[in-house]
């Protein structure tokens, strides 16, 4: 790790957060890439690949549920932890601090909507072709 690097160091394969576990921290990627995967009935699905400047685990800042997905490191990474208390203390004084998070979450929601529409369209066209 170089003297000027911030955050914690992770190696490929390291799990930063694990699906189902409870944790109240958010993470910001300073360097490297991670994958977000979800396990359903023993089958792992990759939901996203995140890189420098992206964050994950933000849902833990707003709710008490367990982690919705596992985040695994793809290449040597540096990741900074954001404490829930630090965030909430500041956002109480400066609500605009949450803008960046809301913007990113909104973009993710839009992507998911597109994905959902695409999957539904695929299913519908598959069903029609079977009927035909």
């Amino acid at each position: 790790m170089r003297s000027g690097e911030l955050g914690g160091t992770y190696q490929p394969g390291d799990v930063v957060v694990r699906e189902g576990e409870s944790d109240d921290r958010m993470f910001v990627i300073q360097k490297g890439r991670v994958e977000v995967v979800s396990d359903r009935d023993g089958s792992e699905t990759r939901l996203a690949v995140l890189g420098e400047g992206d964050f994950f685990g933000e849902m833990a800042l707003f709710e008490h549920s367990t982690r919705a997905a596992t985040v695994r490191v793809l290449e040597p990474a540096r990741i900074l932890t954001i404490d829930k208390r630090t965030f909430l203390r500041r956002v109480q004084k400066d609500p605009s601090l949450a803008f960046n998070l809301v913007k990113a979450m909104s973009a993710r929601l839009r992507r998911l909507d597109d994905e959902l529409a695409r999957v539904k369209a695929q299913i519908a066209s598959g069903g029609e072709s079977r009927v035909g």
Partner: protein
């Protein structure tokens, strides 16, 4: 009657033109206040000072304006070039970005790259005559504090590939559309229509709808700003001492590691001293009362300081300065179309000056874009942020007075050392470590720190450690300094 008034006016040095000008401005301002002055499409914003406060003000203003589809023109006046080494590019500051601010900036999308972080700090070493103890980052053990150079390093430093923190923030403002103007602003006045005109020795004459003063406390411009209406009081300042020791990268790593070294020493007039490891250098920051060469020498001669250097010998200083810091903010850091941010207005007591710049710059930028640029608007939407800092600073002064007991009484220092050392050896609650960590790093408001020290469990533990740390034991001797 008329002649007597004219005579009085004449004796006051007021010309007819002055009188008309003042009357017109009073009327215009009254009209503005009623209507509420707001930033409109195409308005011009001038920012005097391109350090963190100025660049962050530009960034937040442009970002918020973009959010509400408002187009404004932003000029940042900064004559210094932060890519120059030595005083020409230096902003006279210890250069610590606190753990709290590193996290906030990251949430804002401003991630500090390794090219501007001279060293990531993961712990503090507290040095006292009774011993030294390491306080580690709770609870992540990550490097979350950044040691940076505000400029491009000391004059004689070699090109190490590191960049200036101030230039990094400036570039981000430029990316959003701010324009950097390398011109000196030496004066400002209000035009008939209430707008602010900036003037400079090279013929600068530009008028702006809003002017943010982010020139720091060490600028002569503040005297000019004071002459503007309503801005009568100026911040109270304290002289500090900052110097750079050329040690070389290897010695910095081996002698200081990734720790910031804080000194709690019984030296009269000394408030606080810290040695910050950077690339090839170590920066010493010293706060105290009436700092002079005698006080500086007393600190440099202290064995707790000397033992950190190879052969207990201090190398010649690469550079040094006696900058002033703001210890009590301006009570009214705004007027119609003018707002003071960063050190020029209000900042946090002794610590986290860059964090103070962030808070005031953001609060002022949001107030200007969302609520207006009249004095009334700033009073309602910007002043609360300044008052919060000011009130917390008042509590901070109480805490620092209390900490003088630690500095003066050796038996208290023994108890403190024992309490922290025991906490650091175990998992679980670390009340004193947390208090000292937040005091040194500026990671928590002083109010919160004070409340924690008033908890019965904290007081009980401190009292117990005072007794246990001073209990006579056969063959007792002071603990050796902890290895780095």
């Amino acid at each position: 009657m008329h002649s007597s008034v004219t005579g009085l006016r004449s004796s006051l040095g007021l010309t007819e033109r002055d009188r008309l000008r003042r009357t017109f401005y009073r009327l215009a301002r009254a009209e503005d206040s009623r209507a509420g002055i707001e930033l409109e499409h195409g308005d011009r914003v001038g920012i005097v000072g391109g350090g963190p406060a100025g660049s962050l003000f530009a960034t937040f203003l442009l970002r918020m304006a973009d959010t509400i589809d408002l187009e404004v023109e932003v000029d940042v006046y900064e004559a210094r070039r932060f890519d120059h080494k030595g005083p020409a590019g230096c902003n006279h500051c210890g250069g610590i970005v606190s753990e709290f601010l590193v996290q906030l900036l990251s949430i804002e999308g401003v991630n500090l790259p390794p090219s501007i972080v001279q060293r990531g700090i993961d712990s503090y070493m507290l040095h006292m005559d009774v011993g030294s103890v390491r306080i580690e980052t709770p609870p992540t053990h990550e490097r979350r504090i950044a040691a940076v150079y505000r400029g491009n390093g000391p004059r004689a430093s070699e090109d190490s590939g590191f960049d200036s923190f101030d230039r990094f923030l400036q570039n981000r403002a430029v990316d959003l559309g701010a324009r950097i103007r390398r011109r000196l602003v030496s004066g400002l006045d209000r035009q008939l229509d209430g707008r602010i005109r900036l003037r400079g020795p090279d013929g600068l004459d530009e008028t702006y709808d809003l002017v943010a003063i982010a020139s720091g406390i060490n600028s002569h411009l503040l005297d000019r700003v004071r002459r503007l209406d309503s801005l009568e009081d100026v911040p109270e300042v304290l002289r500090t001492f900052i110097c750079e020791f050329p040690l070389g990268r290897t010695q910095v790593r081996e002698r200081l590691g990734n720790s910031m070294h804080v000194f709690l020493l019984d030296i009269p007039r000394l408030e606080f001293a810290a040695l910050i490891p950077k690339g090839d250098y170590a920066t010493l920051c010293m706060l105290g009362h009436e700092i002079d060469e005698e006080l500086v020498q007393a600190l440099l001669d202290a064995p707790e300081m000397r033992r950190l250097f190879p052969g207990a010998s201090l190398p010649p200083l690469a550079c040094h300065c006696f900058p002033r810091i703001n210890v009590r903010g301006s009570s009214r850091p705004y007027a119609d179309r003018v707002v003071l941010v960063g050190d020029a207005g209000v900042t946090r007591l002794y610590k986290d000056g860059i964090g103070g710049a962030y808070r005031t710059a953001k609060a002022a930028a949001n107030a200007a874009v969302l609520h207006g640029i009249s004095a009334e608007s700033f009073a309602e939407h910007y002043a609360p942020a300044c008052r919060t800092i000011d009130r917390d600073n008042a509590i901070g002064k109480v805490i620092f007075r209390f900490s003088h007991l630690f500095q003066r009484w050796r038996f208290v220092r023994r108890g403190l050392l024992r309490m922290i050392a025991r906490e650091q050896q175990r998992n679980g609650a670390r009340p004193m470590s947390g208090v000292m960590w937040d005091m040194f790093t500026g990671s928590a408001p002083y109010r919160e720190i004070l409340l924690r020290t008033l908890r019965p469990a904290f007081v009980r533990s401190l009292l117990w450690n005072l007794v246990a740390g001073n209990a006579p034991r056969p063959g007792r001797r002071e603990p050796n300094p902890e290895p780095l």
